[in-house]
């Protein structure tokens, strides 16, 4: 029978069998490919991909180790239900109960339950080599961010960034710290972190968008390539378009700015951010009458906005309507005084 099969086909079949044997007998066994792929996905912070890969493996070969990995990946990806499901299965398969409880504590911390924050920080500092410590610190940082406690978030991210980590993790932590700095009005440090995040992960759209929100006004020449990258990669939402219009205005290209903002105004005719920028662009084009319409609508939607009020004062001044401009300047002073009062008010303890 074998002799009736042409020799080349027999040889090919044998070779295939040998190859399959080599592949199956490599260290780690048949499940190792998925596990490694999942770990690689985690290193890339592709948590959904990691969970999917592990679930493929679990359907064929359910192990406690894979369940724990899946629980951790699901938790880091923000899928708490899946995380708990995998963790419960992990325990059923004989997984260590303390490890499961630790993972649950990390999840609570990630979701803003910061009761054990001090202990976590100390544990991480005392055990710099433990991988768990990194997971705990990352969850704690996210917890502080969720709880709007930027100072503690920055301190935790400082500790995280001092540890060994994948480039993707480092990029993400830099992005988070950059966002925290932005919220703390520490723009220089924010920009430095966001730039560093993009250097580590060129495709980090979130970092690019956060950066252009700062740079389209401050460093428009630097902002423009980021905006072009976002556009080329399909990020064409209103936030990106608004920054693009602002960037063009700050580059002195008011015609391009006007073209971008016209579409945005048509799409979002009551958005005070869009209307304020539209007013600023018309003022830059020397068209205060056109600016007034946009600014009036913006102020109707958001009456106490400093920038819009300031632009309206300029607009009225340029239109030669001095008394109205003065009135608007008086409003601006009131807003300033209010901001000063809030800034200088005694702070309550968090």
């Amino acid at each position: 029978m074998l002799s009736s099969i042409p020799k080349p086909i027999v040889i090919a079949g044998l070779l295939t069998l040998i190859a399959a044997g080599v592949f199956a007998l490599r260290p780690g066994g048949p499940g190792q490919t998925e596990t490694d792929a999942a770990k690689a996905a985690v290193a890339r912070r592709d948590f959904d991909g990691a969970v999917a890969t592990l679930e493929t493996l679990l359907a064929r070969h359910d192990t406690a180790e894979a369940r724990l990995l899946a629980a951790q990946a699901a938790r880091r990806g923000g899928r708490d239900d899946a995380a708990e499901r995998h963790l419960a299965a992990y325990v059923q398969l004989g997984g260590d109960r303390d490890t499961a409880e630790l993972e649950r504590a990390i999840r609570r911390s990630q979701n803003g339950d910061l009761t054990g924050a001090g202990g976590v920080t100390k544990f991480a500092a005392d055990n710099p080599a433990l991988p768990h410590a990194t997971a705990m610190l990352e969850a704690l940082a996210r917890g502080f961010m969720a709880a709007r406690r930027p100072r503690e978030a920055v301190a935790t991210l400082d500790a995280l960034l001092a540890r060994e980590a994948s480039p993707a993790d480092r990029a993400e932590w830099l992005f988070w710290r950059g966002e925290m700095f932005m919220g703390m009005a520490r723009g220089t440090e924010a920009a430095a972190d966001l730039r560093a995040a993009i250097r580590l992960r060129d495709d980090h759209a979130g970092a690019r968008l956060a950066l252009v929100k700062m740079l389209s006004r401050d460093e428009p020449l630097e902002a423009l390539p980021h905006l072009e990258w976002l556009d080329a990669h399909g990020h064409r939402g209103p936030a990106v378009r608004l920054e693009l219009a602002r960037c063009h205005r700050h580059l002195g290209d008011t015609a391009a700015a006007a073209a971008v903002i016209a579409d945005l105004v048509a799409a979002r005719p009551a958005d005070p951010d869009v209307l304020t920028e539209a007013g600023a662009i018309e003022l830059a084009r020397g068209r205060p009458a056109a600016a007034e319409g946009h600014l009036t609508t913006a102020l109707a939607a958001a009456p106490d906005r400093y920038e819009t009020t300031a632009l309206m004062a300029r607009c009225l001044q340029e239109l030669g309507r001095g008394p109205e401009a003065k009135q608007m300047l008086d409003t601006l002073r009131k807003i300033e005084a209010d901001m000063d009062r809030k800034t200088n008010a005694p702070k309550e303890k968090p």
């Binding site: 040998i18 770990k39 290193a43 401050d218 020449l221 003022l283 340029e318």
Partner: protein
Amino acid sequence: MKRFPLAAGAVALALAAGGVWYATRPKPAPVVEQPPPAETPTGPAVFEDVTAGSGVAAVYRNGEEADRFTILESLGGGVAVLDYDGDGRLDLFFPGGGSMAGDPPQIRGLPGKLFRNLGDWKFEDVTAKAGLGGPLFYTHGAAAADYDRDGFPDLLVTGWGRTVLYRNVPDGAGGRRFTDVSAKAGLTDARWPTSAAWGDLDGDGFPDLYVCHYVDWTFANDPACPGAARDVARDVCPPQKFQPLRHRLYRNRADGTFEDVTAKAPLRPDGKGLGVVVADLNADGRPDIYVANDAGENFLYYNRGDLKFEERGRADGAALDDIGLYNGSMGVDVADFDGSGRPAVWVANFQGEVHALYRNIGAAGFRHDSQAAGVARLGRQFVGFGTAFVDYDNDGWEDLAVTNGHVLRFPAGAPLKQRPVLLRNEEHGGRRQFREVPGLGGLYFRGQYGGRGLAVADLDDDGRPDLVVTHQNEPAVLLRNVAETGHRWLGISLAGRDKRDVAGATVTLEVSGRKLTRFARGGGSYLSTSDPRLRFGLGAADKVGRLTVRWPHGKEEVFEGLQPGAYWRVGEGTGKAE
């Protein structure tokens, strides 16, 4: 032989399996280095550093070596350009700064230096001979003007705790020297004056005096401030830590003395003043005053006559930035950059802010126009100080020069030493815009410095404006304009009737269908005084039309028959240009 294909195939497939394994291993994300954005360098160099061999050796010392981190050391010093000996060549005076030593600390002054221009880019140190060896105090600024109308420029030197007025007098040997007349003149202010501007504000022909004051810092009011970066324990305090000192306005009584008219004017009580310029900003014939304040809104004082002023900075759109915030402002200048015939105001600002170009839109005041004019392309890393409009290529459009350098010892997000900036006035999209042309300025503009003072002066009278720049603790530089544009030029030296002060004059030259407008100014830039002559770049035009001068507090006068390629002395009431 038949075994060979089998073995080879097995090896090949093993390699392929290894390849699968290799391809699925965890991989680090690629690190992508992005070069900083920059505009394309083009064109030959315009300025050549000719300091070496010129005989000019002036280093402003700020005393930072004492490590006291005082705000005093952040200001630096300027330069004054003046023809002190009346030989027709522009000389240079540099304040020397000072030091801090001892416990309790003492502020000590260092002598300034006066360099006489010998021609051909050679200068002679005549400080002692000219009587400028003292008094010693910690100096900043130098403002030159002929306050006594004797035809020779006098010199006001400002610094911490003192203002000194040096009168230019004959030295008894056919030359000139300076003598300290501060006490006699009544200029005995012992606070912290910075930039000053001269100008005949009341129309009597004698230049009056506006003196900016900074803040109430003393060693008794010297808080310790943390640095801008998280890991810097101490740095120079920001001006917000101190109270402003009221600026001063002095009326020149025409008898060698001055009357403090600050309250009568009235000047505002606030403002941490660092820059001031006097020019006719609203075309009413009277010189007005614009003041650049640090950490506060800028002042626009319209001259209402009889030494009364109305401050309308906010109301007329010249006090704040594009979104209504005040800036940290230092240097200032005015010019018609857009061919409107009206003076725009230009202000050099702090890091995190854009330098402000307030376009003059006539009766409605000013428009913050930095974005539309392309200035915002520069970004916000600069801390700008000395600055001036300068048509360096004589194309008839006013360009800009700015010297930069940080005030902090350990700044965050911007370097301590910064490159100076040369901005070319170009047409883009039907409007005038300023564009940096890296490399164009020459080697000096590629370096980084603690830049402070800047003066524009045609030191070799070739019609191409040169620059003099001072730095913190580094030698001042002379930048010779070597631009080979082939463009023609025409220079004007305004001579008021009976040596009246001319700051506030507006001069318009008709050239090839265009009207070029220049403004005679008092003060300007930062702690500095520039060449008082006005220059018109003519581009390719080889002849000019009539020149119209609107004298301060006076009439319009037309002059004809001027030829390019020379400086012309234009005398008020003579109708003649010589």
